[in-house]
Symmetry: C2
Subunit: 248 residues, 2 copies
DNA sequence: ACATCTTCGATGCATTGTGCATATATGTAT
DNA sequence: ATACATATATGCACAATGCATCGAAGATGT
């Protein structure tokens, strides 16, 4: 039945052995997204070792042998960014054989939505930095994005992390149409203007003020809490809270 | 600098060694989706070996060490279903540590849209079968789906493949709202009724006939080719072709 | 005190997309 | 010839949206 050296068996073994016995490494990388000053920001970690030494990378870890992917992503956030309890979701898996020069590393990318203050706190150590994202495409075209330091200097990104960040931006833009995102990016109390600015930063374009107000209110996504923000320098806006936490 | 046995280094090594030296296997599994008789169908392969011997599985292969994920998915389609040149896209990565009883196997799942005739041809061998999908949830709720044989008998699915298929259905339903899917599931010439039945099968609900016609025509997604289908047993409908191939 | 500026929040109107009903057209089946 | 099924076009009601207008409510400058 088996053992006779036919050419079909040879072909089978050639193909099967290569994939079975030389296993790729599997990592998770997390694109942490926050919104501040009308722009998208992410958290980057400077690489201390080769390859891409000195370049800036997404926080990531290798997946433990008995660890789920979600748990590995949570561990990356907790060990590399001192963050926990944030919205996080699997994004896409990047598996170009040449994406890491050391060896074959397949990266299961995640994205997380974080309040800007929490992200600022996690960028305390000197090898981590908040970077502003510069998205060179409109809508959901897709493609890599650039990272720029607080003072405007570009931050070179390691591996294919520019593509990972671009995929995250594309995903978030797409989800905004039907999912109540933005909820994870704001404090518990916010004005409709703040919510709209979050949406505009994500989409990279301006939105109609009145349509946005009507849509959000008519759909019952937010509820007024009966207070106003008296710190704004103009007519104080009503403050709202999210009606129901979804998407988690 | 290094080598002094501090507890932090111990903790670091414990965490790093486990993930680095005992690597998970990485596979791709493909959910092939076709539409026939107003229902969703997929191609399943009966497992000849343990584990889950006799159960039905998605066509899949282990990822070669120097092989990209997309190439592995194409190889799964070509070697297990004799299919090539179809629309295929990465879906989600399933990494539950216990999803495969043999060892840790992380599966990068893909979904593909196939014309029903092509899928029928690929289900020729006795260990492959076309299965009808029974989706027990509405809209984009999500969750596992069941597979039923041609004659109505349920087909037990191996591993977490019911969840993979459910994720594929959910993804396709979501994409239908804004992407010109359905184009990969129909022959080059089709009537608006056939296109609508494809959409209804994907969404699992009926659509308004006139709204569908207007929307498709107004958006210029399809173009009349000036011929009619005279084989239908009623007034012959105009035949259309897709205006532009997108989504690939 | 007063004008000016900014944003808030409400209202009206035109446009567009959609669900639904109606009417006619054009084939097959009996 | 008649019934039946679907195609195709049109009209109407309703909802969502973009856009413009208007008054309200705060801060700031003179």
């Amino acid at each position: 039945m088996t053992g006779s050296g036919t050419s079909t068996e040879q072909a089978f073994l050639e193909q099967y052995d290569a994939s079975r016995y030389e296993r790729p490494s599997v990592a998770v990388d997390a694109a942490l997204i926050a919104i501040r000053d009308g722009a998208l920001w992410t958290l980057l970690v400077q690489r201390a070792e080769h390859p891409a030494k000195g370049a800036w990378a997404l926080p990531g870890v290798f997946v433990g042998f008995t660890e789920s992917l979600d748990a590995a992503a949570a561990r990356a956030l907790s060990t590399k960014a001192q963050l926990s309890g944030v919205f996080i979701e699997q994004l896409y898996t990047f598996g170009d054989p040449d994406r890491d020069p050391r060896t074959r590393v397949i990266s299961v990318a995640y994205y997380a939505l974080v309040e800007p203050r929490a992200l600022e706190r996690s960028a305390a150590s000197p090898d981590t930095r908040l970077a502003r994202l510069s998205v060179p495409w409109l809508g959901e075209t897709g493609g890599p994005v650039d990272a720029v330091d607080d003072d405007g200097t570009p931050l070179p990104l390691a591996f294919d992390h520019a593509a990972i960040l671009g995929t995250a931006v594309k995903r978030i833009r797409g989800k905004l149409d039907y999912a109540p995102i933005g909820f994870e990016l704001l404090p518990p109390r916010f004005s409709l203007r703040e919510l709209r600015l979050v949406h505009e930063a994500i989409l990279g374009r301006q939105l109609n003020k009145d349509s946005f107000r009507r849509r959000v209110l008519d759909r019952g996504l937010v509820l007024p809490i009966g207070e106003r923000d008296t710190t704004v320098g103009h007519r104080p806006p009503e403050l709202y809270r999210f009606a129901a936490r979804r998407a988690r």
